[in-house]
Symmetry: C2
Subunit: 216 residues, 2 copies
DNA sequence: CGTTGTACCTACCAAACGGTAGAGTGGGAG
DNA sequence: CTCCCACTCTACCGTTTGGTAGGTACAACG
């Protein structure tokens, strides 16, 4: 099949959309298609079909398929990073901050499930340079968590024998994994999930003193 | 380019390999290629090239590309499940079992990094029926963890207010995430990582009593 | 020596892929 | 009324894809 050719004769009614609005639609549709089929499994034909557009017309908006993935991923990553960094600035001790960060991170993941899944799953489809352009060479996300763990250790609130990087990766693992099982309308709300996960994570790394104070 | 045609005239020397040995090579190469390029991004041409074989010849061994992915994934999943189930039968209380399960799971992941990554990353490339054929309809892996959490609660060793499924998913998240950052020869050995992660996970869900006893 | 079966090659398909060039087409501005 | 240009379509390209049909060299066996 060269081109569908069926739905030609100009989409009836002919509601023309302005550039910005159409671009937003493109990103949204592309995100959804990448989510369903993966980057390599998705074709520009799929995306164009859902937009009621022909494949070639997409190139009025994009330069390449890869650009599309890049835009999808960098948008959601930037957004998430802002959330997490904002939460790290909340008043209180390191553990209070960490709690806020975890809750914020989980909520953001749940509320942006599809783009987040694309980010976490398809990042590897980008060439290394563009990947690092997004992540920042020293893994910004991971850094926020690790820094808070270290601050917690300095304050005597986190077990000193713990490796901060390992602890950060453990917490990031459990929270990032959420994108694989969370479905809106399930048993728990994003807030509940965030709260429970924060509780587990913090108890997992805290010193005895903190735990006693926390329970009391 | 139709076919390379360069290395024709029958692979010189002509060391013929018996079926079983060649099959093992195929699986190993396919696993590696799927790991590097993803299932959709990998082509049978890639795989055949690395085997020093022509694309068409692969069909002497397989029926379809999908079969290859299925075999890779189901093998490593079965193996991992055996490890985890075996560890769950270790003598001791629920938390001792859970600790052993976590350590075993992490070690297995680290020692089978490439196939595990393919399993966790490309499972979604399989059609639902075959996916469920592997996982078992009620998520066998997750079940092991959840059961242990519930047993822990029954024994008063795990906080009663915790949702067992959520706890299991949290633990599975942090341990499964390991495939994304572990590299052999890094700072930590699989044993160390397993031990630390088990410690964090168990402290995260245990009751105060258990924690006091654990420290002492 | 002839037969048989294994393991691979040759040569090909139709379909789909990402991408390009250029021709409309309709609405808004002058 | 006209002209412009934002936006989409038509028609195509070269390449690669998963997959197939039939042939062939070789070793083992009777």
């Amino acid at each position: 099949m060269r081109q569908p050719a069926g739905r030609s004769a100009r989409r009836s009614g002919g509601e023309r959309k302005p550039r910005e609005e159409r671009w937003a639609e493109l990103i949204e549709v592309a995100t959804q298609v990448f989510y369903e089929k993966g980057y390599d499994g998705a074709s520009l034909q799929d995306i164009a079909d859902r937009l009621g557009m022909l494949k070639g017309s997409l190139y009025y908006y994009i330069q390449s398929k890869e650009d599309l993935l890049f835009d999808v991923i960098s948008a959601v990553h930037k957004q998430g990073l802002e959330v997490v960094r904002g939460r790290a600035d909340v008043p209180g001790g390191p553990l209070d901050k960490l709690e806020s960060v975890i809750v914020g991170h989980v909520e953001h993941t749940c509320r942006n499930l599809v783009p987040t899944a694309v980010f976490l799953h398809e990042l590897s489809a980008l060439p290394v340079e563009r990947r690092e352009e997004i992540l920042g060479s020293e893994h910004a996300y991971q850094g926020v968590f690790r820094d808070l763990v270290e601050q917690g250790q300095a304050a005597g609130q986190v077990r000193a024998d713990l490796d901060p990087r390992l602890a950060a990766l453990s917490i990031l693992g459990s929270t990032n994994w959420v994108y694989r099982w969370f479905r809106p309308g399930g048993t728990f709300t994003p807030e509940q999930i965030g709260a429970e996960m924060a509780e587990m994570a913090i108890r997992g790394i805290a010193t005895e003193d903190v735990l006693k104070a926390r329970t009391a």
